[in-house]
């Protein structure tokens, strides 16, 4: 019988979540993210849209302010990022990332044919999680040593973590790795047109101030036939799973952030930004609008839609 009140409260949560969800979780507008390191903030690059409104969690801020605040969040979580990911997703993020990279299969060469070089741009790849997996799949599993990965991140603190962690890789893989500090919405001068085989962004694109601009840049830097791939939190289809998941993300994750990383606000931002991210269909539309083509339904749900993989291809000519 003890389970009954529990079940009832879940049911109540699922109904109330749909009706009164937003007001219950709107943070006070006066809240500031005090835990940032102002010294390590990148110098704000101004482009024409920098004073346009965009979302920061459930708040509305200007695009340039979002850029600064996101930089603050990731500067403050950089060191504990992987530990936190494990605790928040109960280790599942590793499975998602493994599946993501193996489904892209970088470096694959048809049997008996000469391997061709590939260049992968790993956007928002600061800690190197995705890049190291790409290198392993390409160099070790597909035996194609001509696959290079460029890790790009707007945040120097995250890149530092990646550089530190890359020192345990084999020398050949380290040689194929390069780092780039850049804003993914404007890669002009840093990444050439039509130069990349694969543009990958994992758990990063929801932090961008201007997603359409970033997608345009992705389209610009990819070769014709190049693939845009994105792994990101998404919308859960099943209502029961969704209510449990919302309870977990809004109840437990800021708490874990508070206890483990000593930084509640950053993790509060993470869950709010996940909630604000467009649904699978809406994001697919953004990808199509940027000029990519999709195959099939264009996305693949992971764990009931908690995360989703989107793929697009730049058409030939």
């Amino acid at each position: 019988m003890a389970s009954r009140p529990g079940l009832r409260s879940i049911a109540a949560a699922s109904t109330s979540a749909s009706r009164t969800f937003a007001p219950r979780f709107v943070p006070p507008t006066s809240r500031s993210f005090a835990s940032t390191h102002p010294a390590s903030r990148p110098t704000t690059t101004t482009n024409d849209t920098s004073d346009r409104p965009t979302s920061f969690g459930f708040e509305t801020v200007t695009e340039s302010e979002k850029r600064e605040r996101v930089a603050g969040v990731f500067s403050s979580v950089a060191d504990s990022y992987d530990r936190m990911n494990d605790m928040m997703s109960l280790g599942v993020h590793r499975l998602w990332k493994d599946h993501y990279v193996s489904s892209l299969n970088p470096g694959y060469t048809p049997p008996g044919q000469a391997a061709r070089p590939q260049h992968i741009l790993d956007i928002a790849g600061g800690t190197g999680d995705i890049a190291f997996r790409h290198l392993h799949t390409a160099h070790v599993l597909n035996r194609n040593p001509d696959v290079r990965v460029t890790i790009s991140d707007i945040n120097p603190d995250m890149l530092e973590v990646g550089k530190k962690r890359s020192s345990i890789l084999p020398a050949s893989q380290q040689a194929a790795l390069s780092f780039l500090q850049a804003n993914a919405e404007d890669l002009t001068g840093k990444v050439a047109d039509n130069s990349m085989d694969l543009y990958t962004v994992a758990f990063g694109i929801r932090n961008f101030s201007n997603m359409p601009a970033a997608l345009q840049e992705a389209h610009r830097v990819l070769k014709p036939g190049g693939v845009f791939a994105c792994l990101e939190f998404s919308k859960v289809g099943n209502a029961l799973l969704d209510s449990v998941y919302k309870r977990w993300s809004f109840g437990a994750i800021p708490m874990i952030g508070h206890l483990v990383a000593g930084d509640r606000d950053s993790y509060q931002y993470l869950v709010e930004s996940i909630e604000n991210f467009p649904s699978q269909e809406d994001f697919r539309q953004l990808i199509l609008d940027a000029g990519f083509g999709v195959a099939g339904q264009g996305y693949e749900d992971l764990t009931g839609g908690i995360a989703a993989i989107h793929r697009g291809i730049k058409p030939l000519a």
Partner: protein
């Protein structure tokens, strides 16, 4: 497969002259019955019959109607509206069509996909955009061969009405055989393909496709019945097609004559079963009516 409950408009049309003449004159109507989901690439207007014939004559350039945006869905069949787009996007079609040329040698595999991508001028990474890899290649084969069937039906039944008459079971048998010959080119790889189709994640799509194929065959045979036989005919065709297809993968005879005979035996059995079922039904109805009359004769008010 949905139950045969078309909208009242569609039902009304079914009974009218218009439907029957439309169906008679347009056997190129590959389109499926009123309930098939509209993502099926109906060859009706998209692939004019000459295009279908070209695809049959020159299997080196197979084509399917493509969809560039999100697939539209229509829950009914119509011969009056333009057909819905096919299930494959433009780039997807280019990749799959090129890869399909390598299937006889490399099977339904990522190797075939990679060779195809190189042929079509794509970088090696391009194939990773396909959501289901080699199963996508299998779906390409299935959709392509199904789409060809309508044009072939038109050719096969061309003499009908001019002294030559086919019965519906005969036409079904001819259509099943025609569809099976579409597997000839890849028959060496087809056991592998069936294994991929039978893997748990692919089973729903595979079964759906079998149902659509059965629907197509029954429709093209001219069977327009909307009574419980709607189900039994499609179930029967599905079972016969699936078993014959499996038999064909291990058939070593010249021109697959063993498979042809296997198919004929299955069709005869189906006829026997249908007759037996009909007799049982008649007997049950007769007995029930008799029992009712006996009860009435005893004065029971029924």
């Amino acid at each position: 497969m949905h139950p045969p409950t078309p909208s009242s408009g569609a039902l009304r049309r079914l009974g009218t002259q218009r439907w029957t003449t439309a169906a008679k004159t347009s056997r190129q109507c590959a389109a499926i019955h009123m309930t098939t989901r509209a993502t099926v690439p109906s060859t009706k207007q998209t692939l004019p019959s000459h295009a279908v014939r070209a695809a049959v004559a020159a299997p080196s350039s197979p084509t399917l109607p493509t969809v560039t945006q999100t697939a539209q869905r229509r829950t009914f069949h119509s011969t009056d509206h333009p057909p819905p787009p096919g299930p494959f996007g433009a780039t997807e079609s280019a990749l799959l069509a090129a890869a399909y040329q390598h299937v006889p040698e490399h099977g339904f595999s990522s190797a075939a996909l990679a060779f195809g991508a190189r042929d079509a001028g794509f970088p090696d990474i391009s194939t990773s955009v396909l959501p289901d890899g080699e199963f996508g290649l299998i779906r390409w084969h299935l959709e392509l061969r199904k789409a060809e069937l309508a044009g072939r039906a038109e050719e096969m039944f061309v003499g009908e009405g001019k002294g030559k008459e086919y019965k519906i079971p005969e036409k079904i048998e001819m259509l099943i055989w025609e569809r099976l010959t579409g597997n000839k080119e890849v028959i060496g790889q087809w056991q592998q393909a069936l294994a991929i189709m039978a893997s748990p994640t692919n089973v729903p799509v595979s079964i759906k496709h079998l149902a659509e194929l059965a629907d197509e065959i029954v429709y093209l045979s001219g069977d327009k019945a909307v009574d419980p036989s709607w189900y039994s005919s499609r179930a029967g065709v599905s079972a016969i097609y699936a078993s014959t297809e499996l038999f064909m993968t291990s058939d070593k005879s010249e021109g697959f004559t063993d498979t042809r005979q296997f198919l004929r035996r299955r069709m005869e059995e189906a006829r026997g079963v249908k007759g037996a079922l009909g007799n049982v039904g008649q007997w049950v109805g007769f007995s029930a009516m008799g029992a009712l009359n006996v009860a009435r004769s005893w004065g029971v008010r029924v």
